[in-house]
Amino acid sequence: MSYGSVEQLLYDVSTSRSHREAFCQNPEEAAGKYALTDPEREMVVAVQVEDLFKYGINPMLLMGFWTSVRGPQSMPEYLARVPKLESRLEALPG
């Protein structure tokens, strides 16, 4: 489990043009520079926002990653796919 590395990759792609361009050109190679597990790498490379959300990634960071890779015009697709916050709250104890 390398949750922090996943968030670092998403942060880098969201905030750095060079990282964004590298990821968009070759996601596998870009992701290979981070210490990710195989399931983590698959979620990131395929931009699986449903799974990344369920994994606990910060929603603001996830949205920033999505729009960096897919473009702001793709927000309707993002919102159709990303789970609701209440699903996380229901998973909490108590």
Partner: protein
């Protein structure tokens, strides 16, 4: 002796500036102008602005609970139509004195010696302060957008510490405080676009009454449920309330604006007599 002359809360919803649906918004933008005029009328010289990083400035490698910028400022670095990314007047010596007082009070704040702020600080600084640089900005970032979150009680106590720090300053500064944040809003989640006016009213009622107890009694889970992950920004309002105990509040504008994703609340808190 320096003194706090007023407190304000205001939103920083980027969609208010992007306005993709071309909704009427002049009355909301006018609320920033109204606050700027009030700040000018108060003769303010400094503005301490409480805001949250939106996972733009601080990376997973370093996530401060509290951070005060003590050097040169510019922003907002995230491009917003009508809000220039330009220099923001600062006073490094004043900011440093606040850091020193915080440390002596048990708040081990981090510092940024040079900072491009995001819209949480940039929107209030560019729109609600005089444009001539006469009011110097001190940004205070709180962990309200990325966990582990600052505790609500600690945010309130931070405001109390700011009040004590200002009272101890030997200058003649007149200081306004600004809590920057939307009220209910869900950011990057499936609920995005939902606004909860009931939650917004609960928060604004507490601000108007000057009683922080209803806000301090909330759990983070309740805030997330009723106010969304963006609702965690009420910490910034609590900091202002902590610095102005017993202050009388007034709502300057509120709207669950259909062009955005946030309950937009503007309020003023004046010091108790």
């Amino acid at each position: 002796m320096a003194k706090i002359v007023g407190g304000y809360i205001m939103p920083h919803d980027p969609l208010l500036f992007v306005n993709p649906q071309k909704k009427e918004r002049d009355h909301l933008l006018g609320a920033y102008t109204l606050i700027r005029e009030k700040v000018e009328a108060l003769g303010a010289t400094k503005a301490i602005i409480f805001g949250a990083d939106h996972y733009i400035l601080f990376s997973p490698r370093c996530l401060p609970q509290f951070l005060i910028a003590t050097g040169e400022l510019h922003g907002p670095i995230d491009r917003l139509p009508g809000v220039a990314n330009s220099s923001i007047a600062s006073d490094p010596a004043f900011a440093r004195s606040l850091v020193d007082y915080a440390h002596s009070s048990g708040f081990d704040v981090a510092v940024a010696r040079d900072l491009g702020v995001d819209h949480a600080i940039g929107v209030p600084a560019q729109l609600a302060l005089p444009t001539d640089g006469s009011v110097k900005t001190v940004p205070v970032y709180m962990a309200s957008g990325v966990e582990p979150y600052v505790r609500l009680q600690r945010a309130y106590e931070f405001g109390q510490m700011v009040r004590e720090a200002v009272a101890a300053m030997p200058t003649d500064d007149r200081i306004v405080l600004m809590g920057s944040g939307g009220i209910s809003h869900w950011v990057g989640t499936g609920e995005m676009g939902r606004i909860n006016p009931e939650f917004d009213k609960q928060v604004l009622d507490a601000i108007v009454s000057g009683d922080p107890a209803p806000l301090l009694a909330m759990t983070d889970q309740e805030i997330m449920r009723d106010g969304g992950n963006g609702g965690m920004e009420i910490r910034h309002f609590l900091a202002v309330m902590g610095a102005l105990p017993g202050g009388s509040g007034e709502v300057l504008a509120y709207e669950a604006w259909s062009g955005g994703v946030t309950g937009l609340g503007f309020a003023e808190i004046l010091p108790s007599a």
